[in-house]
Symmetry: C2
Subunit: 417 residues, 2 copies
């Protein structure tokens, strides 16, 4: 069963905004056994909408439109579908009353323009919108299903869950999409692919996307199957083989970001961590605290951007900075050991570098970052040269630091067993 | 002059990845006087690609495709266009040599599959790709222009700049797109629109998009005109009127994020700032240091996630925490004043709150955040209830704190004049 998605809105044809609703819809449709085979983005033009619906209804079993259900003259989705199918628009008194009541609840009178939102093509079912004034529509006719959803993501998601999913369930074939996701650090995309292509290409019917995200690579194997048990078994088997091929570079098979994996490791070992960051400016602390409940293992961190702060707050000797420069192995080690000592945590991380765009020199170009990880057993330190712009250098540095923490516990577990 | 964009790639029809290249292309095309009227996303299927090219070439003057130029069997864009237009694919020896040389430079032998990349439809011009193996193509025939660009953003952007832009320049009509962007904080979308709709709706030919981003609203007025001087004058005039209508809520008319505006204000006043963050976990420091050169005004910050850290590192009395709780006006004030005193900065910011999902109580629900700003003149403090999930609460808190710093300098400037 095939679906196409039409996203309507002139703002989606500007350089400023993308349709992101289709990601949600695609994920949910796939789980219902429905593939998304095309997405079209058109402006607020009746002609373009009519065109888009015509083409999509010719090709797909289900066509879902997003947006264009508001009260203004730019909101033309209802009208376009009715025009294409030769249906009259009929005023739906119950919807109108609902919209009027909604305005009354907020102490306002409904503007006359909102009457548009109560116009329904003959034969269409109304999909309630508890979160806004724009109702959705479900039109099933001549073998097509057309679904009109509002653009605000909260409204769209609530309406899909309550009204659309139950109507689409059991419509699709018995085939469902089965998926996995592996996340990998510390390996290039081509190196990764050369190691795993011989594995995934052996499975018939399996599609595998390899996506480079910042600082990591995601592997998305997926298979459509009507036999859930064997599809899941096949994927489990594949994941195991990939994990063997890539070793410790695989940090997650459960869609968890690296900071969540690190958080779980810290928790599992009853360990704590404190950070002393210079060039990353707090990004490492910020990532560690994205995890709910991270206060259990993260008491705090210092962003010591100036040299004075490095000395006063984390005890980096001023002479060390003077002799070796703020961006040096010695300072990274002093930061990591200093913060660990002062905060009595299991681990201390120190990061110092040149994020750019300025501040680089021939010896220490932009992208030079020193990372240090202090523990009871000593201090590991290394100099990196991260490519890219300021934001990318900062992200890569935190990704590497988090990965070191992960590896620390992997090694620790190995030593213990 | 109209353009359509076709993004090819099965991964763009999964729930994991969006086409973002079209934002870059749209921005650059608009500057050349070319409007993007439709975007289509199709999978790696020859039939779908042929369909998409056929429909797009019927409607638009320029059709630009993204992706599908690689060496694998999934890369079908060249073949689809040649099939549609009935053109033979001819092997281009110079391209082939270039690809071979590229492999040689990296010490490898070219796999036979890469020969695909040297196949060129008769009559097409080759667009050099200095950053990868996939050359682009420019095909101008029967009044159409079809441009095939590779998918990796770096390659696409470099190729557009070097090869496509010069070919498209002066093709478009004399009309160009003229734009502005205003960024606003501290106002709801509907309140904002009710204040400015009477202004922007008076200008003929002007389109205005109002986009809610997290913690701010962006206003994008734009107008197509062949008379640059009067278009720019009209936009200047409009921006002035909007600024008067929205007052201090407008923080940028030059596309600058709030932390850059705050950085410029700190610089202009020779002021410095230090931060003491609890629930935002370093996000405020991280945002302040996104600005290159921020070390001039930001010596550092503390992420004091645990109560011990609040006491030890920023001098919040343990009794204050015990009496009022860590999430309280008193603690926020003690954080702001403590960090300002200890670091001798012009300003000190303290943030403490409950970002969720856990930790809320009936009196202090998730989203409760206290923000304090300490300066020579005293300490401003307020309790907020930010809506949304953990990430949104944290972002909103830093947005508010940054806005307070901005307002501090606005007031300061007013006092001085």
């Amino acid at each position: 069963m095939k679906a196409e998605i039409i996203a309507a809105g002139s703002e989606l044809l500007t350089p400023y905004r993308l349709d992101t609703n289709s990601l949600f819809l695609t994920g949910r449709l796939n789980l219902l056994g429905i593939r998304v085979t095309r997405k079209v983005i058109v402006g607020d033009s009746r002609e373009d909408l009519v065109d888009a619906f015509r083409d999509a209804l010719e090709r797909a079993n289900v066509v879902i439109s997003i947006g264009g259900l508001g009260p203004t003259e730019d909101d033309l989705t209802r009208e376009a579908l009715a025009e294409l199918l030769g249906l009259r628009l009929v005023r739906h008194e119950e919807i109108l009353q609902g919209i009027r009541d909604r305005f009354r609840r907020f102490g306002r009178t409904m503007p006359e323009s909102n009457v548009r939102q109560a116009m329904v093509p003959e034969g269409a079912e109304v999909l309630a919108n508890p979160l806004g004034t724009a109702p959705g529509l479900w039109l099933e006719t001549r073998g097509y299903i057309a679904v009109l959803l509002p653009g605000p993501p909260g409204e769209l998601e609530a309406m899909f869950n309550r009204e659309v999913e139950p109507r689409l369930a059991h419509r699709g074939p018995s085939q469902r999409l089965h998926t996995r996701e592996l996340r990998v650090v510390g390996m290039s995309e081509s190196d990764l692919d050369s190691r795993i292509a011989p594995i995934y290409s052996q499975y018939e019917g399996l599609e595998t996307s390899i996506l480079a995200a910042r600082g990591e690579i995601q592997i998305h194997p997926r298979i459509w199957s009507s036999d859930s048990t064997s599809a899941e078994r096949l994927l489990d088997n594949l994941v195991k083989k990939i994990e063997i091929a890539l070793g410790d570079c695989v940090f997650s098979t459960t869609r968890e970001p690296l900071e969540f994996v690190v958080g779980a490791a810290l928790r599992a070992h009853d360990a704590t961590i404190a950070t002393a960051e210079s060039c990353t400016g707090g990004l490492l602390a910020e990532r560690l605290t994205r995890v709910p409940g991270s206060s259990v293992y993260f008491p705090g961190g210092i962003v010591c951007y100036s040299n004075d702060w490095k000395t006063e707050w984390t005890g980096v000797p001023a002479e060390t900075i003077e002799t070796h420069g703020a961006v040096s192995s010695e300072v990274a080690i002093a930061l990591a050991e200093g913060i660990r000592r002062r905060s009595s945590t299991t681990l201390g991380v120190g990061i110092t570098g040149i994020a750019g765009p300025d501040g680089g020199t021939p010896e220490k170009p932009v992208g030079t970052v020193h990372i240090a990880l202090a523990s009871e057993g000593g201090c590991k330190e290394k100099q990196f040269r991260f490519p890219g712009e300021r934001e990318q250098v900062r992200w890569s540095a935190t990704q590497m630091a988090l990965d070191w923490v992960r590896m620390y516990f992997l090694d620790d577990t190995r030593r213990a067993t």
